[in-house]
């Protein structure tokens, strides 16, 4: 929830693994790396303990209203189990048809699932 706009939410937007992801900033314990050639990463809490999610690029916090959020299409619903919650249209300053799709994830579940498969940095 964003206090200045009660129906808006703050989303931490970042690029990882060639895709554009968004998450609740409160899930992020720390953003690490990024200096001296060190790869940037997010430290997040998952059901299996603290995990690290490698990040290619941090876009920053985006304030999104209810009209910017979309449920996961029914066809893609099975991916919810992997921590993919829905989608958002980022870039409110642009016309709706030009906005980018951001996948909204539960970072804890997402990181835990990636961790099971050895994909966590």
């Amino acid at each position: 929830m964003n206090p200045s706009r009660p129906h808006a939410v703050s989303v931490f937007v970042f690029e990882a693994g060639g895709t554009l992801l968004g998450a609740d900033p409160r899930e992020i314990r720390a953003v690490t790396g990024g200096g001296g050639g060190e790869r940037r990463a997010l430290r997040v809490e998952s059901p299996q303990g603290e995990r690290t999610v490698a990040v290619d690029r941090v876009r920053g916090i985006e304030i999104l209203g209810p009209g910017d959020l979309r449920p996961l299409p029914e066809w893609a619903e099975p991916l919810r189990a992997r921590g993919i919650l829905g989608a958002a249209l980022a870039g409110r300053e642009r016309p709706v048809e030009e906005r980018e799709v951001v996948l909204l994830v539960s970072l804890g579940r997402f990181a835990a699932t990636r961790g099971e498969e050895g994909g966590v940095a």
Binding site: G17, G18, T19, L20, R70, L72, P73, E74, W75, A76, P78, L79, A81, R82, I84, A87, L89, V96, E97, R99, E100, V101, V102, L103, F110, T113, R114, E117, G118, G119
Partner: protein
């Protein structure tokens, strides 16, 4: 002429009148379907027009982690989030760009409440064909591909493989079994 006897056998005229329908019957309507055809890997494919939700130019997609390789991602289609797939691996079509012909399009299909977009080559005309003209896929088609087809149509323009939208959508949908490891 002697007076007619009502107890005698009916005359041929009466028989003809009795066997006639009460009104003229219209010629029997042949059930038809409308098919939108498109190019994919040098072959012609088709879908029922009633299954087509939209046709759009190719859109940027956001890749979906864990989704099977044929899932290209989610696209923003005028504010609507549409999953986009490459149908070629599922239909056994070799990957190739030049032979697709025309600019690639996203053909958004609907089955029940689900929608999915297919990246296809040039989208052609809509043909109206008799439902009875749908033939079973030839035995040379791999069973897993044949399972995604409603049949084939022999049109003047060539043979068209008619996709069964509901079965295609069910088969292309991510499942825990088809999910791939995260990069």
């Amino acid at each position: 002429m002697p007076p007619s006897d009502p107890t005698s056998d009916p005359s041929p005229l009466e028989e003809a009148i009795r066997s006639s329908p009460a009104e003229e019957r219209a010629p029997e309507a042949v059930p038809t379907i409308r098919v939108m055809t498109f190019r994919l890997g040098g072959e012609e494919y088709g879908v029922r027009v009633s299954d087509v939700d939209a046709v759009s130019p190719r859109l940027a997609t956001t890749r979906v982690p864990f989704a099977p390789a044929h899932v290209l991602g989610l696209a923003n289609l005028r504010g609507r989030i549409v999953p986009v797939v490459d149908p070629r691996p599922l239909l056994g079509v070799p990957r190739g760009g030049a032979e697709e012909g025309g600019r690639p399009r996203i053909l958004v299909l609907r089955s029940g409440t689900m929608i999915v977009g297919l990246v296809v080559g040039a989208v052609h005309e809509v043909e109206e064909v008799a439902e009875s003209a749908i033939e079973p896929p030839p035995s040379t088609v791999a069973p897993e591909v044949a399972a995604l087809l409603a049949g084939i149509l022999r049109l003047p323009s060539g043979v068209v493989a008619l996709i069964d939208t509901a079965r295609f959508m069910a088969r292309s949908r991510p499942t825990p079994e088809t999910a791939r490891p995260a990069p």
